[in-house]
Symmetry: C2
């Protein structure tokens, strides 16, 4: 292995000079800098990561904790993971992949051993055990998703309230008056899924402001439950012409059922899906959708841990950040102006 002293010897300087030349933490004459760079290139020197971590008190590694079995769409998760990795590199960091099959032990281990300087948690739920561990360890961390109490932590997430609002606006703009929100199964609302409530709240407020009459119906996502949901909606509000679906699994069933019921999308009924783009794109008709920025989520999370790592290294108290990323509404083929009233009575 080529070491720093090898480089120093080859360049005819001291080891510290090489170190400083590399880190730029003190001025180096052009002449020496060149000699050092030359030696590094010739010898093919790469600083030893362990030694660097030991002496420098920084591993230059962040841990990324991915959910083992997730409710989120896997390709989206993968895209975030890759975005995190790429963004980390731009800060000179590498990414350690952690699953939570060790429970919270994994996080504790890498943080306490100095393996990772910081942690990014994906798919955070309202009451997430891992969050308390991180807070207790006082490790620089960023969460993707919102816990119930984000105090002392930095978080990024999609702005689901805005997503809901965009849906209401779009339907209102198209002249729909009676709309329905087909949500997740009631279990999701009862449990840790903050995003479900946030979406609904955002939708409700905007719907009210825009004078929409609306119904919220939870939906398990199976064909049968979607059928039940839809028929109840139409029984309660036969004039419903706009649908917002947040449960990805219910999208396919809903479309089939509308078709089966003689309602053409988008002529008779408009449908907006809150889901990743590829999903919206693969249905027929292609769905108007509201989608959060995926890569940006990862990048923002990295920026947040980096900020915290730097702050703590300088002995400061890191600032809590809460960043909500605005989703995009993409109009495709499943939404259109509301039909004239009573055409389906």
């Amino acid at each position: 292995m080529v070491t720093l002293s090898d480089v120093a010897r080859h360049a005819g300087v001291s080891a510290s000079t090489v170190s400083y030349a590399l880190s730029g933490k003190r001025p180096i004459s052009d002449e020496t800098r060149r000699r050092v760079e030359r030696a590094i290139a010739v010898l093919g020197y790469h600083p030893h990561a362990g030694a660097r971590a030991l002496a420098g008190k920084r591993s230059h590694i962040i841990a990324l904790v991915v959910p083992l079995h997730t409710e989120v769409y896997v390709p989206t998760m993968m895209e975030i993971a890759i975005a995190v990795t790429v963004a980390a590199r731009e800060h000179g960091y590498d990414v350690l992949l952690l699953t939570n099959d060790e429970g919270t032990e994994g996080v504790r281990r890498v943080a306490a051993s100095g393996l990772a300087d910081g942690v990014i948690l994906m798919d955070v739920t309202l009451d997430d055990d891992r969050v308390s561990v991180l807070r207790a360890l006082d490790t620089p961390a960023a969460l993707i998703g919102l816990p119930d109490d984000p105090a002392g932590l930095s978080c990024v997430d999609n702005d689901f309230a805005l997503a809901g609002a965009l849906c209401a606006d779009h339907l209102a703009d198209l002249g729909h008056r009676d709309v329905a929100f087909v949500g997740y199964g009631s279990g999701v609302y009862r449990r840790h899924a903050g995003y479900a409530e946030r979406t609904l709240t955002g939708f409700r407020e905007r719907a009210e402001r825009r004078g929409l009459r609306f119904l919220h119906r939870p939906c398990e996502g199976t064909y049968e439950s979607t059928a039940g949901t839809l028929s109840r909606i139409l029984a309660d509000r036969p004039d419903t012409t706009g649908f917002v679906v947040q449960n990805e699994a219910a999208i396919g069933p809903l479309l089939s059922l509308l078709r089966a019921g003689g309602r053409i999308v988008p002529e008779d009924a408009s449908v907006i899906a809150i889901c990743p783009e590829p999903l919206a794109d693969q249905h027929s008709p292609r769905l108007t959708s509201v989608t959060g920025p995926t890569r940006e989520l990862g990048q923002a999370a990295v920026a947040q841990v980096m900020a915290r790592i730097t702050a703590m290294a300088e002995g400061g108290l890191p600032e809590d950040e809460l960043r909500l990323m605005a989703p995009d509404l993409v109009v495709r083929e499943s939404t259109a102006p509301a039909p004239r009233r009573n055409s389906h009575r």
Copy 2:
């Protein structure tokens, strides 16, 4: 930070004793072991990763290189990545996530800096640059996928030849006589895609042995190209009753087209898909499929790097392994006994 000497002091022993108690590399009396364990628990000691890597010449990290844009189904890739991570933990290893947006530099960096003791490459193609880099660096490595020259390397992959053979067997067993293989676009065959040829070869040999008459047709996977492929097949061999599809993208179109052409699956035509289970499951009718074991791929790759790391640490020459994992044929609803001849003439 709690250090080894803190533990030693608390337990009233020397630092080396604690180290040995932890590694088990020399006998320790029950009495001292207990004291040491006690101290570790009380103080909440975690060995410093960097120090361990520096002194022990092992980082206990392997790098996993994932493709940036992959041709493989993302959930499968994710499942492999997670399987690798979990399996690595069982060997006391953590996993560093690498993309190849740095080109081959990432691999070089982590190997040369001692950040990773070994590397696993996912989605390896026949002529993969990363492979030559690894060979040159002489880093313990395992490949998932087969390069053209696996000499000096360990590889795991699905046994695609067997996958092809299983398809031929299943159709032959059901009494089909004329079958068609709907493959990937011709570009895939012209390029680096060893798995495509291997599948085809396995299918062809078994088909011949079983006395099947068969046609191979490449297919780009769009609706139009699938339509063209299918009509040519039926023009050339009107009696074709069995279909094997390897191009995931062509599955949907093929099913629609058969239906549109008045052929009921599986009564009039049987279809086998070579694809991941979830994909086979989400079509209607649910598809009989041939699927490689995903998690096992990851586990095997980990076993292989570990073997090579150990061998090299002991100064030995690691043994090359080439492990092909047997795929499973799962019979679902898309295959049935061949219909009586000429029913569609």
